[in-house]
């Protein structure tokens, strides 16, 4: 190893820093163990420590070409786009599940996004703009995430074998994230394109007809599982990746995050399934009048919950 690193630095071997007197090699052993025990007993000791202010070689101009800053930006963009999509997912689930309260509630939510109050009359193109923005972030996130995909069959095979051999929770989670992400390329695109091109077709009857008469329920069922699992694992990994919510004990923080992740998945899967069932039932009941838009106050099911309205319609 040369003494000069080629960047104007004088390189020195990393001899032990000024630490308490150790005596001999046995002393070193004892100290290492003592520190180890201390670290394991006091998780806060594991937290990164900032070095005190010091002169960081400001005069040394690196001789090599300056490394691109884009890897850092792309990494942050991947995280930011993932966070945006996950938050959108949460909001979206609450919006669509408003059908469980009443038809009118969902109708009101749908019309709200058409900015009727702003423009006087509902403007579906506003929904298209929102969907277009989400689609753009979706495509950006997919493109950025693809950088992490196995790039060849060899890489795919090596990782699959590694995962099977290691039997490690977070490694397995990444594999699930990979495949759910891959599925979302197609499932998410179909849904977003549909909403982009038919922004006015969002409403109690319109959505129910699309799901049942339009035969989109299998796609939505798959999409629900893929997106909720992908999103929950993604948020969990995002927190680990950037060291968020670690608390004083990172190991306990990670256990907490896993519980939250599982809770997130179960809650939104449950909510999504019940919501989808409500739309399917309404779609079945409304099948003979498919295409008829929902008009508040003009239908017998007004004010009833999605499930109840479907049953009422069926009885009639």
């Amino acid at each position: 190893m040369s003494a000069e690193s080629g960047r104007g630095w004088v390189a020195l071997p990393a001899s032990p820093v000024c630490a308490p007197y150790r005596g001999d090699c046995c002393g070193l052993l004892i100290m290492n163990r003592s520190l180890e025990h201390q670290a394991l007993a006091e998780p806060a000791a594991l937290a990164p420590v900032e070095a005190p202010t010091r002169a960081r070689g400001t005069t040394a101009a690196p001789a090599r070409a300056r490394k691109s800053r884009w890897p850092a930006r792309l990494d942050m963009l991947q995280s930011a786009s993932g966070l945006f999509l996950a938050l959108f997912l949460v909001a979206h689930m609450f919006f669509v599940s408003s059908i469980l309260i009443s038809h009118d509630t969902f109708y009101t939510v749908a019309r709200f996004f058409e900015a009727g109050r702003l423009f006087g009359t509902p403007q579906p193109w506003v929904v298209s703009c929102v969907v277009g923005a989400v689609l753009a972030v979706f495509v950006l996130h997919a493109w950025l995430a693809m950088r992490k995909f196995p790039a060849s069959f060899r890489q795919y095979k090596v990782f699959a074998a590694h995962k099977a051999q290691l039997r490690h929770g977070d490694t397995g989670l990444w594999w699930i994230q990979l495949w759910t992400g891959f599925a979302l390329f197609f499932l998410g695109s179909v849904h977003l394109y549909g909403m982009l091109t038919h922004p006015a077709a969002i409403g109690p009857y319109e959505s129910a007809d699309r799901i049942w008469t339009g035969s989109l329920w299998p796609l939505y069922l798959l999409l629900l599982f893929m997106v909720e699992v992908h999103g929950s694992i993604g948020l969990y990994r995002l927190a680990l990746k950037w060291g968020w919510l670690e608390g004083r004990d990172p190991a306990a923080g990670r256990r907490r995050l896993r519980i939250v992740k599982t809770g997130f998945s179960l809650f939104f899967l449950g909510l999504g399934l019940v919501t989808l069932l409500a739309y399917v039932q309404l779609g079945i009941a409304h099948a003979d009048r498919a295409g008829e838009p929902y008009v508040p106050g003009a239908t017998p099911g007004e004010g009833a919950s999605g499930v109840q309205a479907a049953l009422n319609l069926r009885e009639r």
Binding site: M1, S5, R7, G8, W9, V10, A11, L12, P13, A14, V17, C18, A19, P20, L29, M31, N32, L35, E36, Q38, A39, L40, A45, L46, P48, V49, A51, P52, A55, R56, G57, T59, A60, P62, R64, K67, S68, R69, P71, A72, R73, L74, D75, Q155, V158, F159, H162, K163, R167, H168, D170, T171, W174, R237, L240, K241, W242, G243, E246, P250
Partner: protein, 244 residues
């Protein structure tokens, strides 16, 4: 008074290989009687002493200090000297650590890989001036010295390397051992490099931004190093440089 339990008969299924001899790698079973407090290191010595003197595996310290006896134990990286057989089943599979150059059987050349990483990441103290060798070294706060030692506890056993899915896929990835070393030198006030200098070493997809946070490294590290927090910390610091 009950009779002492009969010791278990252990089967150690070991992946035997001899690179350069055109002999295909194969699994070989060795049956030994389990002793009290037996570690895998002791079991392997039993085999070498009584059953097959040609069995190759590495060891030096027998106490989890040297990092020589890293191997795949039932598929997970670990140190033979710190693994008790009582914590494992009656059949134990042992294989050499992947990624590293195979010497034979369970013996791999971690030193060559670690040396390459040290040179690539320049893991030594960088200063603008030659130090005064006769002058007293500047004092350091004990907390800082201990924080540096905490990261210096890495024994370069290679377990984190073998446990990293990213590194298994992309061999140029620097791995947790390298990132941990960078955080160690970043802490050291005698090293005058700035974050911009460290970015030149790890600011790409083969460095800290390539880490997919699978945390296999953190979970298999036999020294319990805080790799999860250190890598996240380094990622935040390098991300800031990315916007300068």
């Amino acid at each position: 008074m009950s009779a002492p339990a009969k010791p278990r008969c252990l089967t150690l299924r070991i992946l035997r290989s001899a690179p350069g001899t055109h002999v295909e790698p194969e699994w070989q079973d060795f049956a030994i009687e389990e002793g009290e407090g037996m570690t895998l290191f002791i079991a392997l010595n039993e085999i070498r002493q009584n059953l097959d003197p040609s069995l190759q595996f590495d060891f030096v310290c027998r106490a989890g200090i040297c990092g020589s006896c890293g191997m795949l134990i039932d598929g997970r990286p670990g140190l033979a000297c710190r693994t008790l057989t009582k914590d494992l089943g009656a059949t134990i599979t042992l294989a050499p650590l992947p990624v590293f150059e195979l010497i034979g059987d369970l013996s791999v050349n971690t030193g060559k890989w670690m040396r390459g990483t040290a040179e690539r990441l320049e893991t030594w103290i960088h200063r603008q001036q030659q130090p005064e060798l006769t002058a007293l070294e500047a004092p350091m706060e004990p907390e800082l010295a201990e924080a540096i030692y905490e990261l210096d506890r890495c024994i370069e056993c290679g377990c984190c390397v073998a446990g990293c899915g990213t590194l298994r896929m992309r061999e140029d990835f620097v791995g947790a051992v390298g990132l941990n070393k960078i955080t160690r030198f970043r802490l050291d006030p005698r090293d005058e490099r700035s974050d911009e200098d460290f970015y030149e070493l790890i600011g790409d997809d083969n460095g800290v931004f390539g880490c997919m946070s699978l945390l296999g490294c953190h979970d298999v590290c036999p020294k319990g190093l805080p790799l999860q927090t250190q890598i996240a910390f380094l990622r935040r610091k390098m991300a800031v440089v990315g916007f300068k």
